[in-house]
Every structure is written in C-alpha cells, then in structure tokens.
Amino acid sequence: MQLVLEKRAERSRTIALVSPLIAIGLTLVTMSVLFAVLGKNPITALGVYFIAPLTDGYSLQEIAVKATPLVMIAIGLSLCYLANAWNIGAEGQFLIGAVAGSWIAVKTQGTEAGHWVLPAMLVAGAAAGALYALIPALCRVKFGASEILTSLMLVYVADLLLDYLVRGPWRDPAGFNFPTTAEFDPVATVPVLIEGGRLHLGSIIALVVVAAAFVLLDRTIKGFEIRVVGVAPRAARFGGFNANQLILLTFAVSGALAGLAGIIEVAGPIGHLQPGISPGYGFTAIIVAFLGRLNPVGILIAGLFLALTFIGGEQAQITMKIPLDVTKVFQGILLFYVLACDSLILYRFKLVSAAPQVQRAAR
C-alpha cells in the first residue's frame, strides 16, 4: 500500500476555496504550540499577530504601504510564470529601477525643475527595470541560457552598482560622507494620500496594475496566449503563438513593474537613495505570486496578508516581547502550509497497492 499524488481531471473549486482556510487553521495550531513552548499565551499572541493590526486605521495604512511593492512586483512575476518564463531576479530589477529614477532626482536636485520630474522618474524606473529584465530574457531566447539563474545573478550586480553610486558619485555632499543621496526635492517625491499618513500614490498605482492584469489575462488575446504558452507549449506552437516573443514581453513587463515599484519606494516612503532600500521585496514577491496562485486578485490578497504578518510581528515584539525570529519561523510555516494545501487543488491523494510491482515488471 502506498500513498501517491494523482492529477485531478480539473481544478477542484471547493478545495480552491477551502484550502487557504485549512492552511491558516494548520498554521494557527502549529504556532499555538510554538507560543506555548515559548511560554506565551497562544490566544493573545495570535490576536496580536492577526487581529490587532486590522483594528485601527494606522496599521491598515501601514499594511497597504508594505504590500504595495510586493503586489506590484508579484503581478509582473505572475505573468512570467504563467508563460513559463522564470524571472527570479525581480529584486535586481527593483534596485535598477530605483537607481535609474533616482538619477533624475539627483541631477535635478536644487534646480528649477518643475512637476515633470516625478513622472519622468517613474518612467525611467520602469524602463530601466524592463531593460534589465530583458538581459536574462534575451540570453534565454538567443542562447538558451537558463533565465532562472542569469536573472538571479544580475540581482547581485544591481545591488553592487547601487552601493557604488551612493558611496561614490551620488553621495550627498552635505551628508558627512555617509552613503546616501540628499533627500529628494518635493517635485521628486511621491505624494501621500492622507495628510500625516504614509499611504501614498503608489498604492493606487498598484491597484491599477492589479486591475490591468486582471483585464489582460481575462479579456484579451494576449492574456490567452500567455496562458496557453505556459500550460500547453505544443498547442501554442500549432496555434501560431510565438513563445520567444512572449518570454521577452512578460520579462519586460515584470521588469518594468519591479522597476516602477523600486522608484516608487525610493521616491515615496524612503525619500532618498541608500543601500538596503529593499528588505528582499523581489524575493518575497515570488512567494506572494504563488500564494496568490498567479491570479491578480489572489496576489492582492496574498500581498496584504503577508504585509499583515510583518506588522503583526512588530506588534508582537512590542507588546509581548516575542522575538523576531519567531515571526520568521511563523512566516515560513505559513507559506509551507498554504503552498502544500494549494497542491490539493491540482492533485489528490490516492492509495495504491500493486502499482510498484507493475512498474518493476515493465522494466
């Protein structure tokens, strides 16, 4: 007797709806045990993680701020992944976008430059991200080099370029040599939506991106092509779809979105360019994309949910003195459960008995 996976004939709708609930339930049980082991009251702790941040306007704003780059990047990545193109270098595209946009901010600093600065920065960020993403895409299309790995390698290059610029040429002359550019001028800053808050225009842009992705995938032929190329490459070829062109396209779009997220983050919440502008957004967004099942609405929910765990983790540290490492473990476990339960949408478990023997006989 043996337990094996079997592909379902079609996606199970019931499980698709129930699986996140099962995953959250399992996480709650596991974390309760962990909290109990650490000598904390599990119910209070879980309340601090999940409920408290949802009960006041400030935390909700912060969740939106944290989720904005994650959602924006993840939407782009989901297009790639649907088309079977594996961009895992969004972190690098994020950084390059931030660098390119900041270039305009740094060059116009203290000048009479008008309100064209911010739009130009956003365009530059998106363009640079797209171009940077096209490097691995071209390497794949032209030379067959694995885009998973080249895109990952280019993350480090981007990181070091940023590091070099802020420690050298772009360093704030009045900043005592510290590695940061000067604070951007008001015309180079993403405006906040609520006076005194941190919620900024970027969150609106992220929502527009989600809506656009939804329309693209659900209502357009291009979206259909992307899906077909990903699921059935052979059929796509017969249908006359150009898979290489789609790889380039999806990479460019996801690079542009990551670059846009990068410059929005720098020109918004941060306000200047410095090393360490991203606490791994490009990588976390990969997880967000999968948590959201590569679906625009799902990604929006997943991004908000992951942001919630970050905010909740800080509040748990403040109010209950729960160490940050517990939050990391918590996120890891949660991700595993969600990914595992999602697997049941596509597959089901089945008990088989004689199969192995048959196999051996076939050899």
Binding site: D56, R167, G168, Q274, I277, I311, E314, P323, L324
Partner: protein
C-alpha cells in the same frame, strides 16, 4: 452596514487609545530600536546593556520596550512609529540609518521625544548622541606603535564614513607620537558584520606583514585570528578578551548606560531638551577595557594618555594636523580641529600610505 462596522472599529480604536493613555500615566514608556540581533557582543548588545542599566536604575518609574533586527530601510520608519503608538514617550534609535525615518516620525509627533545615535540631523524633539571614539583610537595607536615589532599595523575598516576615517587618523596620530615611521595597511570589507570576511581580512593583513590588528567591524573574528596566530589585536564596541585572552590589548567599550539614565531622568523631571551630545572619555560615553598583554611601561603610557585626554589636556587632533598631501589642515577649533571637521572627516593624515575610497 459598512458604516456601522467602521463606526464600531473607530470606537474600538478610541477605547484602545484611551486605555493606552491611562496606562502610560503610571510609568514612563521608553523605546529602543536596534539594528541587529542582540547577541552577546557588538554594537546592538552594548545598547542593550545600556537599556539594562537604565532598567536597573529607574525600573520602578519606567517601562522599556525594544525592537531588534530593524533594517535601515523603509521599515524603520514604521517600527519607530509603532513604538510611538504603543505609548513610548522617549525613543532611542540606535543606528545611523535611522536618521531620516526618526526625523520624519519626530515631525509627526511633536510631543514625543527622540534620541538618534551617530547622526547629525536634529529637531526640537530630536536629540543626537554619539561617542568620541577617536580618543580611544589615539590611545590604541600609541599602544600599537609600542607593541608592534615590525612597525606595521593592520586596520580592518567597515565603510569609509567619517567615524571610521577619523578613527584611522587618530590611530595614526597616536602611533606617530611614538614611532614617526609607523605604517598602516587598511582593508575595507564593506560590511559591519560578516565574521568570515572579517577573518579573511585579518589573515590577509597578517600575511602581508602587519603584526597588530585593529578593527572597526562588529564581530570578534579578527581578534580570534590574531589569537590563533599569536599576534595582538584590539577589540571593538565590546569586551572581546574571551576570544583572545593572550591577544587583546584593550578595546573601546561603548557604555550607553549613564547617558540613557541621564536622559530618562531629564524626561521624568520634565527638563528634557533637544541636545547634541558627543561624549568622550570624560563623560563615560565609552570606556577602555583593561590594558592587557602589554608590559608595564606601555600600560603606564596608555593610562597617562587616557588621563590627559579625559582631563582635556591632550586633544588627539591638536593642530597642526598635516594631511596626506603634506599641507596643513585648516585649524578651525582653536588649538585643535573643530568638531565639525572631525565629524565630517574625509581625508587621511600624513603617513597613511593609501587612497581614501571614493576620493
């Protein structure tokens, strides 16, 4: 329906904040933002020791909270604001990268007081505090010059920021006061913390002929390499003698406790004002670890220098200071360089046979 829900939520928030105020009235809440994990030594650990000293002294009047491992990016602004919203009235942010986030939050909450470590931007409700570690480096330079057999010092730098550059210069000036021909080899590891890389740098310096290791990075890796090779070294931030019982000459120990206690007392008395504190040996902002592994005459010299600096008789950057280009540096502080010149130091003194990165 939606409106009613929102109303209920608002009521909840209100109830929560009222309860928060009532609670805060009992004890003063003091918050800390840490860059790294607390661990057992290094920069963050020293701040944690300061916090513990504070609790020991004023524990019945205050309640402290800290957030560790807060990255210096956009997350730090939120972390600081979270502390404000949790009712903390005095908040210490303990790394340079928190400067702008602290300033932003300070502008938003004029009734909360902030203290930012090692930065240079201040506001009505935001102080800065830091240590004149270059004083300790001067003493270390003298010791190093005495103890080095070959006259070559090895220096592991983190980033070429003024704090580190002024440390190198103070070391050289101290060393030159003993041995005018002293040489220094400098390696920048571009990290505050990567034990493996710090160890590699220490090995490289020793292999190139240096026989004393000085570091401006956070882990005891370099100390341990020196110990393994039977060479001498200076610790950083913390007592590192455990990692080199036969190697550590001394170490600059960050002691934030007295400052934290003084500032919290001021807050309790209602006398807190925005200030720029740059404390040296005299104000106990840092201490020198016991002088070990050196003959008595060297120890005596170190103690005398320490006393002279503490009393103000000796200034490590007393004029004339000669720059690398052989020209005298403008003397803006009377008989020594002005604080501003040290805080923004962006040149090597004569005798450093190297090029400052980014220059």
């Amino acid at each position: 329906m939606m409106k009613r829900l929102l109303g209920a939520a608002a009521a909840l928030v209100l109830a929560g904040s009222v309860a928060g105020v009532a609670h805060a009235a009992d004890k003063l809440k003091v918050g800390f933002i840490y860059l790294g994990p607390i661990g057992d030594l290094g920069w963050t650990y020293q701040h944690e020791l300061g916090r513990q000293a504070l609790v020991k002294e004023l524990g019945d009047k205050i309640e402290t909270t800290y957030l560790e491992n807060v990255p210096e990016g956009p997350d730090s602004e939120r972390a600081i604001e979270q502390l404000v919203r949790a009712g903390n009235k005095l908040i210490f942010t303990t790394s340079f990268g928190y400067m702008d986030p602290t300033l932003k939050v300070a502008k938003k909450y004029p009734n909360v007081h902030f203290e930012h470590s090692t930065g240079y931007k201040r506001d009505k409700n935001m102080s800065t505090y830091s240590g004149r570690w270059y004083q300790g480096r001067y003493i270390q330079g003298q010791i190093a010059a005495k103890m080095s057999k070959v006259g070559v010092l090895g220096y592991i730098g983190s980033f070429p920021i003024p704090e580190v550059v002024s440390g190198i210069n103070a070391t050289m000036l101290g060393a030159q006061s003993v041995n005018p021909n002293i040489k220094v080899k400098i390696i920048w590891v571009n990290t505050w913390f990567d034990p493996g890389k710090e160890a590699d740098a220490a090995k490289a310096l020793l292999d190139q002929g240096a026989d004393i290791i000085m570091q401006h990075t956070d882990s005891p890796a370099a100390m341990q390499v020196a110990a393994e090779r039977g060479k001498l070294a200076f610790g950083q931030d913390s007592e590192m003698i455990k990692f080199g019982p036969k190697a550590q000459l001394t170490s600059i120990l960050d002691t934030w406790g007295p400052y934290y206690i003084a500032r919290v007392k001021a807050e309790l008395d209602g006398t807190w004002k925005s200030e720029d504190t740059w404390g040296g040996l005299d104000s106990k902002m840092f201490e020198m670890a016991p002088y070990t592994n050196m003959p008595d005459d060297v120890k005596k010299m170190a103690e005398e220098t320490q006393a002279a600096i503490t009393s103000g008789k000796l200034h490590p950057f007393k004029c004339p200071v000669i720059g690398q280009d052989g020209k005298e540096v403008e003397c803006k502080g009377g008989d020594h360089l002005a604080d501003g010149q040290i805080l923004g130091m962006n040149f090597y003194v004569k005798g450093v046979d190297d090029k400052l990165p980014g220059k």
